[in-house]
Symmetry: C2
Subunit: 335 residues, 2 copies
């Protein structure tokens, strides 16, 4: 799956930034791939690009319109389908992170056929994957893991890739969820893959590479999340990570979506992740922590970062405050 | 998915018992549900039931023909499709454990429609499942786990159910793989379920029950198998097992299908399984071992069983030698 840039970002009538977080994420992490945004009346979100219609975007060179916005109730409205079909008619592909497939909307599927365009429904892998072999492959890999879901694994992975490249390392972000895929322009939504093939899909996603190249693999779920831990374990095994970065948010009251489950102790979570990672890569280790302090004021955040670093004896960073240079320094030293 | 008994067992032209192991397993564990077997010329396998054609089976009351045999190259031959369509015409449903779906063979699908019969492709779950909630539910559950795949988890589970019932306990075998499903007459092939939903499917498979009822849940894979551990972990979390029975085969050279992976130490394997099980059931414990000594002579097998029991301080049984009464005794004591 390879989505063609440049992009027109579709924000629909998103009532806030959260509803359009996927389009905004693409704008934030891949601005060089974006030419404009398309907003419908009532839209309160802003990806920071010039507003334009599909004709103007096509003229500006856009190859794909990114449908990076949540729709209401999983239904593509008339207002949306007019714009989506207009984009296809103007020569753009569509790449969507929606739960429901664009390919299942008859008039959109028909328009794609009529205009010879491609529909990328990135939540729905459209190929078969092999069973994982567990065979060691060259190249280095760092995987983000977490004490919980939705705690900053994608953001941390993208920050690592950016900083690694800035420091002259060879690094490629490997996306495993819909927002990451739309940012990367490729990848597989691993929670939508048949369970037997998840580890094999990850082996395919982060294949053999040159010995000095790093894949930065986007983590999913948590080994301590009662709904999704199986996905996480398959991802760990398929990644064969040399390095793990543990993502955590201080003060979170319970596991996401599970009010009766507390978060694990970070030490226990590190130990479990490292132990499982060593099955497929005996040298795996946790090189540091990404601490999501977005809900804290600056001073308490600073104290939390320092105190955790002292307690664990490893670098602790908040990518959105001080960057991840301390983590990349550790990665750069790994031979 | 509920497959109607009694059954006619289809063995095709199976060259040996292994090729027909599913039909033979149904005959072994559910003889009361079987009326006969149907073998094609050249068949060398025997499920121990009278040979009959579909007309005789229908007359004897059969409601379903079990296609419990491996076919060559995944293709349904002309000889097979004649028999399968004949069964549908005679009023039987078909239940198949084949990789490829009967529903995808046009002439078989057409015949099922024509005669108003049902095709059960048990490797391919045909419904949607919820995300696991992790909420505790009443009823007791025992799950078989293993140091490796294909080590005796289904056999052990069926032996436990049988012995528990013989001792007057309420017990229900819950199948998670195709052979188990054909034996139980229902269940879900969890390795074919989309990864996000595996734990939720298991919550559905082994639902709330009366406090003195035991679900005996068929395990899959191993936490230490680089290809399938994610499936295993989701199964553990969804099962919320009160008791684990660890299945092991002494002397196995390497993990199944992975020549470069050794088996874990059984102590480490028990510790990892119990630790993960305690996420969704804090009282989970390993109550004993099922040791597969099928490749050993009687005396060495006896010594291996005794020595492991001494080392681990828990009951060790080989279901196919001495039965599983010692394991059931432990289960019966659990309140």
């Amino acid at each position: 799956m390879l989505i063609k840039a440049p992009y027109l970002l579709f924000l629909g009538e998103a009532p806030d930034a959260l509803a359009a977080k996927t389009s905004i994420g693409v704008a934030q992490w891949r601005p060089e791939k974006c030419v404009g945004q398309l907003r419908l009346p009532g839209c309160k979100a802003d990806a920071g690009f010039p507003d334009m219609d599909v004709a103007a975007a096509a003229k500006a060179g856009a190859k794909t319109m990114i449908v990076g916005v949540v729709n209401r109730g999983g239904v593509v409205s008339k207002a949306w389908s007019d714009v989506l079909i207009g984009a296809l008619a103007a020569g753009l592909d569509l790449a969507s992170g929606l739960h429901n497939k664009l390919a299942d909307v008859p008039e959109i599927a028909a328009a794609a056929r009529k205009y010879g365009r491609t529909l990328f429904d990135v939540r729905h892998p459209d190929r078969e994957f092999p069973i994982a072999t567990g065979a060691r492959r060259p190249g280095k890999r760092v995987l983000t893991v977490g004490t919980d879901c939705s705690i900053g694994k994608m953001y941390t992975s993208l920050a690592l890739e950016k900083e690694m490249r800035a420091q002259g390392l060879k690094a490629t972000f490997r996306a495993t969820g819909q927002t990451g895929i739309l940012i990367a322009g490729g990848g597989w939504s691993i929670d939508a893959i048949v369970s037997d093939f998840v580890a094999g899909a990850v082996e395919t996603l982060a294949p053999a590479n040159s010995p000095d190249h790093w894949d930065v693999i986007e983590g999913q779920g948590s080994l301590f999340h009662a709904s999704y831990a199986g996905v996480t374990l398959a991802l760990i095994h398929g990644s064969q990570p040399d390095a793990l970065v543990m993502c955590h948010e201080p003060g979170r009251a319970h596991m996401r979506g599970l009010p009766h489950y507390k978060l694990p102790k970070i030490e226990d979570c590190i130990a479990a992740n490292v132990a499982h990672a060593r099955l497929t890569n005996p040298k795996a280790k946790c090189i540091g922590i990404s601490l999501n302090t977005s809900k804290m004021a600056a001073k308490p955040a600073e104290r939390a970062i320092k105190s955790l670093a002292d307690r664990l004896g490893m670098p602790v960073c908040d990518p959105s405050r001080g960057g991840v240079a301390a983590l990349v320094k550790k990665l750069a030293k790994m031979k």
